[in-house]
């Protein structure tokens, strides 16, 4: 018993040290998952397909599969990252085909279409670029990448 308890004591101290270190690091860190800051979904449940190109006024998504109610969000492509939002369309859970998104303020370059969850107030796009990780309507991630496609502009 003595040895077991001594070991337990040593382990307890290690745990204490770990928890001290861990807690210190954790304090104030709201989103602990590094690059994945949205909702993780399987490729079987979350997909997006766009075959055509976008016009100045609209973009059509051929097929989208979402694990829940969602938003199709169109951004200007800012050097591979989502830039200013230029289009927004809500979709239901499951498969949606031929979804057309009205665009505004598109002039040149390419676009990024991402799928965001509608987890906040239903029908309201609760997402702020100022606090992306703290917003409820964050994007879906599949295979550790945001569920999104790049669409060329005509």
């Amino acid at each position: 018993m003595n040895r077991a308890l001594s070991r337990s004591l040593a382990l307890a101290f290690v745990l204490g040290a770990l928890s001290l270190a861990g807690c210190t690091a954790a304090t104030g860190e709201d989103h602990p998952t590094g690059g994945v800051w949205g909702y993780v979904a399987s490729a079987d449940d979350a997909q997006i397909e766009v075959s055509g190109t976008a016009t100045a006024d609209e973009l059509t998504v051929d097929r989208v599969l979402s694990p829940g109610d969602a938003w199709l969000v169109v951004h200007l492509n800012d050097d591979g990252k989502p830039g200013m939002r230029v289009g927004l369309q809500s979709i239901g859970a499951g498969e949606s085909l031929g979804v057309t998104i009205a665009l505004e303020g598109v002039a040149t370059g390419s676009l990024i279409v991402a799928v965001h969850a509608d987890k906040g107030e239903a029908g309201e796009f609760d997402f702020s670029m100022d606090d992306p990780t703290g917003s409820p309507d964050r994007p879906y991630f599949v295979d550790r990448a945001e569920l999104a496609v790049v669409v060329a502009f005509e």
Binding site: L5, S8, A12, L15, G22, T33, G34, G68
Partner: protein, 902 residues
């Protein structure tokens, strides 16, 4: 000083069989006016009484008959037992250890014919029983965590109708309850304790040595085993929780789990929420299963409107846990962080602390375990003429038991056949084996070295010396020292004060601090979170469990250490008071001296030799019970002298004895006898006077009414260790006094040898005035210890702040003394005081440790600088450090070198 002359008489009494009979006769004779002291001897069939005035013989006979016995010859007749100058055999030591047993050993009569004897005169018990018919029971308590638990049980019992008093010992985990058996049963007491949220196991008071607490030990073992399982369970769940706090794991693990969940169950999973779910899944079993015991304790304490460690742990862990649950499942709080690891680790640390504490507490009772381990399991008893091995529990009083070399003596008894030497060091600490021959007492648990012998069992089961010693030590360890009251007082107010402090801390962090400090001080958490964590840490760090352990663990180790050194400390109070002793009063006879006169000097007249003089004197004194005569016959026996028959024997009161030995008329006695015989002592007068000046009793041997054959000087000699002990006590700053009924000249002679100054000699003190002398010293403001062995010392032992009884003394002296020295070695008085000082120092150190953690920890926690789980670890460590500090007392070594006796 007023001096009253006393005389000693021997009365022959029929029908006494045992100590119980002796005690009854003693008690009744003490009621007779004029009798100041009584020593009844069942073996001799006599009682020696000390009288100031000749008692009424009819009253003496009535007293004997009232006790259930008969004066020999149908009427009481008094035979003078000796001159006043000789200490009466009141202080003649009885056979050593079998009598060192304590009160109950005297109550069993080997013949079963003795009248029922009331228990030993314990003033406290007598007072209690006078108030109500009171029974006592001891219970093992399982599940106590701190002194607040102790207070809860004591309060619960105190409120139970029929309970007179209840003392709960946290370290020994026992409750000793005095109750009225007419209104309350043991089962009802157990139910009351269980109602308070703890388990209770009644001790079997009649069980064999050290087995009274077996059920408790089993229950405690089961409890510890359960706690161990809970600890492993909590640890297994807390380790992943703690690991999840490492940043890299904090990122990767929830992600991997979220991916797995998405693949397996479909849907979308937020890794941040998955992180919280993992925390919930891991922490909830810890909170609900491992933490259930704390909620139970909290609830029971709450029902009694009190608080304990369970209250603090339950509140502290629940605050962290419930907030985390809300942050996990209440959407509005979805973005708030969780603290599942705090509650789980806190509970794990608390359970670990309890386990370590249980282990350390177990070690504090090692001395008892060692003592219990001495008792052999079987005995070789002679039944129907055959030697058969029987369980030691089956040995009955009167059985003849055979002991072979290397075997342990199974029970107490008296040797009937054979010779051997027995190692009694395990009980007395005396390393030199003691020679045993027919008639000598043997003690159960001691080791037979050489030779085989048979003995008749006189005390078995719970009556053996070993069982009584175990009981005494257990009782002492279970008793509460006055210093404990300090801890109790603090603990009683601690929980409410701590909760109030925690609430104040919370409110201050929530509402006051944000007004005055920069938000960056919060390290990105909200004031609410900071307030919650600070309040929780305050609740946890402040638990008073270490404080509750400070005194009892030190007392347990101290009394156990005493037992190892042959010093039985009968209560925590005695141990504590011994620390303050400023004056110590030694009884002379049997304490500083051997208590048995021995021949010290022989002067021969021309033409005589030593053996011949002794032969003549011993032949005359052969049948005498006078202690001086015993010294002569003992010397003759030592020399193996043949003692011829005596013709015309006559005892001449106040003079001596005379008779015809080998055809010679021999007179043996004092100067007056020689004058009566017409023997001229002029030539020897100087020598006689010088011997008398040394405090010796001079006896003269006259032959044929014509000339002196020799002078024999007899004296009660100083024990070898007395002077050393006195010197050491003086060095320790203790005033040493000697008290005796002897005349001043004899007393001062002995005191001078012992190194006691003449002005510290209290001579010619009657037994009933010894207590007054002690009281006079106390009146000077001194804490006084009395060291004695006889019945006549009993009032003084009771009067003294600490009564120290010699183990070879009478049962009553040992019952009265708070400390019993089993070896009759006065150096143990020094050791007892040293041990007391070491124990009290340890208690003070423990208070420092316990209060240090709390006093330092509370402000640190209130300032938000201590994480709750670390507060939990600190709390566990405070208990462990206090118990470990007490265990350091096991390294205590007596300061005096014991030379060859150890």
């Amino acid at each position: 000083m007023e001096t009253t002359m006393t005389r000693n008489y021997t009365i022959a009494i029929e029908g006494m069989h045992c100590h119980a009979c002796e005690r009854l006769v003693t008690a009744n004779l003490m009621e007779v006016p004029g009798i100041t002291a009584v020593v009844a001897d069942a073996a001799a069939g006599t009682a020696v009484i000390t009288v100031e005035a000749d008692p009424d013989l009819d009253s003496v006979a009535s007293a004997i008959r009232a006790a259930g016995f008969e004066p020999s010859g149908g009427a009481a007749t008094l035979k003078e037992a000796g001159p006043e100058s000789v200490q009466p055999p009141l202080e003649t030591p009885e056979p050593a250890l079998p009598d060192a047993a304590g009160p109950e050993d005297a109550d069993v009569c080997p013949t079963g014919t003795c009248p029922t004897v009331p228990p030993a005169p314990d003033p406290a018990l007598m007072a209690a029983s006078a108030a109500a018919a009171t029974a006592h029971a001891t219970f093992g308590i399982i599940g106590m965590t701190c002194s607040s638990c102790q207070a809860v049980i004591e309060r619960t019992l105190a409120r139970t109708p029929g309970v007179g008093s209840a003392v709960v010992n946290l370290a020994a985990e026992t409750a000793t309850v005095a109750y009225d058996p007419h209104t309350l049963t043991v089962d009802e007491i157990v139910a009351a304790i269980r109602g308070a949220g703890y388990d209770a196991v009644p001790h079997d008071e009649d069980a064999a040595p050290g087995t009274a607490g077996d059920a408790q030990r089993e229950a405690q073992q089961a409890h510890i085993a359960k706690e161990k399982r809970l600890f492993v369970f909590s640890l297994a769940l807390s380790v992943p929780l703690a690991l999840l706090m490492i940043p890299s794991l904090m990122e990767s693990v929830p992600l991997v789990v979220a991916e797995w969940l998405a693949r397996t169950f479909g849907g979308a999973w937020d890794p941040m929420m998955v992180f919280k779910y993992i925390g919930f899944v891991l922490a909830t079993p810890v909170q609900l299963i491992a933490g259930a015991q704390f909620y139970r304790g909290f609830w029971h304490a709450l029902k009694r409107r009190t608080g304990n460690m369970d209250t603090l742990v339950a509140i502290g862990t629940s605050a962290a846990y419930l907030y985390s649950v809300a942050a996990t499942f209440v959407p509005a709080l979805a973005m708030e962080p969780v603290f599942f690891e705090t509650s789980a680790l806190l509970l794990t640390f608390v359970i670990l602390g309890k386990l370590l504490e249980a282990r350390a507490k177990g070690k504090t009772s090692d001395a008892i375990k060692k003592l219990m381990g001495l008792a052999p399991k079987t005995a070789r008893a002679v039944r129907d003429g055959a030697e058969i091995d029987v369980p030691v529990a089956d040995v009955i009083v009167g059985d003849t038991v055979v002991v072979r070399p290397g075997e342990k003596v199974p029970v107490d008894g008296a040797v009937t056949e054979g010779h051997s030497s027995v190692d009694e060091s395990m009980l007395t600490g005396e390393s030199i084996p003691v020679e045993k021959q027919p008639g000598d007492p043997v003690i159960g648990g001691t080791l037979n070295k050489l030779g085989s012998f048979r003995f008749r069992a006189t005390r078995v089961g719970a009556e053996t010396a070993l069982a009584q010693i175990v009981k005494l030590v257990e009782e002492a360890q279970g008793s509460k020292a006055p210093v404990q009251r300090f801890a109790d007082r603090i603990s009683a107010v601690f929980v409410p004060v701590v909760i109030a402090l925690a609430v104040i801390t919370f409110l201050a962090w929530m509402f006051v601090v944000p007004r005055f400090v920069d938000p960056s001080f919060y390290l990105d958490v909200t004031p609410f979170i900071k307030a919650l964590l600070a309040g929780t840490a305050v609740v946890v760090i402040a638990c008073p469990c270490a404080l509750g352990l400070a005194t009892p663990t030190a007392i347990m180790v101290g009394t156990g250490k005493g037992a190892e050194n042959g010093i039985l400390i009968k209560s925590g109070e005695a141990l504590e008071t011994a620390y303050k002793i400023a004056a110590i009063v030694f009884d002379k006879t049997g304490t500083l001296t051997h208590g048995k006169p021995v021949v010290t000097d022989i002067e021969l007249a021309d033409g005589h030799d030593v053996d011949r003089v002794f032969m003549l004197a011993a032949a005359l004194e052969r049948g005498s019970e006078h202690p001086l005569a015993e010294a002569i016959t003992a010397r003759a026996k030592e020399k193996a002298l043949h003692l011829p028959p005596v013709e015309g024997f006559a005892a001449i009161p106040g003079h001596g004895v005379e008779g015809t030995v080998d055809g010679m008329r021999v007179a043996f006695g004092n100067r007056r006898l020689m004058a009566r015989e017409g023997i001229d002592l002029a030539r020897f007068e100087d020598r006689i006077s010088s011997l008398e000046a040394e405090g010796k009793t001079v006896m003269l041997v006259g032959v044929n009414g014509a000339k002196l054959a020799g002078i024999i000087a007899v004296a009660d000699t100083l024990k070898a260790d007395s002077a050393e002990a006195v010197a050491h006590l003086a060095k320790m700053g203790v005033e040493v006094y000697m008290i005796t009924g002897d005349n001043r000249r004899t007393a001062e002679a002995i005191a001078a040898q012992a190194g006691i100054p003449a002005d510290h000699v209290l001579a010619e003190v009657l037994p009933e005035h010894k207590a007054d002398e002690v009281a006079a010293l106390q009146a000077r403001g001194l804490t006084v210890a009395m060291v004695g062995d006889g019945i006549n010392d009993t009032p003084a032992l009771a009067q003294a702040d600490v009564g120290i009884a010699m183990g070879a003394g009478t049962d009553i002296a040992m019952e009265t003394g708070g400390i019993v020295l089993m070896k009759n070695d006065l150096r143990d008085v020094v050791t007892a005081i040293e041990l007391s000082r070491a124990t009290i120092r340890k208690i003070h150190q423990n208070f420092f440790w316990a209060l240090g953690y709390n006093s330092l920890g509370i402000p640190v926690a209130a300032l938000g600088l201590l994480k709750p789980e670390l507060a939990g670890a600190a709390m566990a460590m405070s208990s462990v450090s206090v118990v470990t500090s007490s265990l350091m007392l096991r390294r205590f070594r007596p300061g005096m070198t014991k030379g060859t006796t150890r």
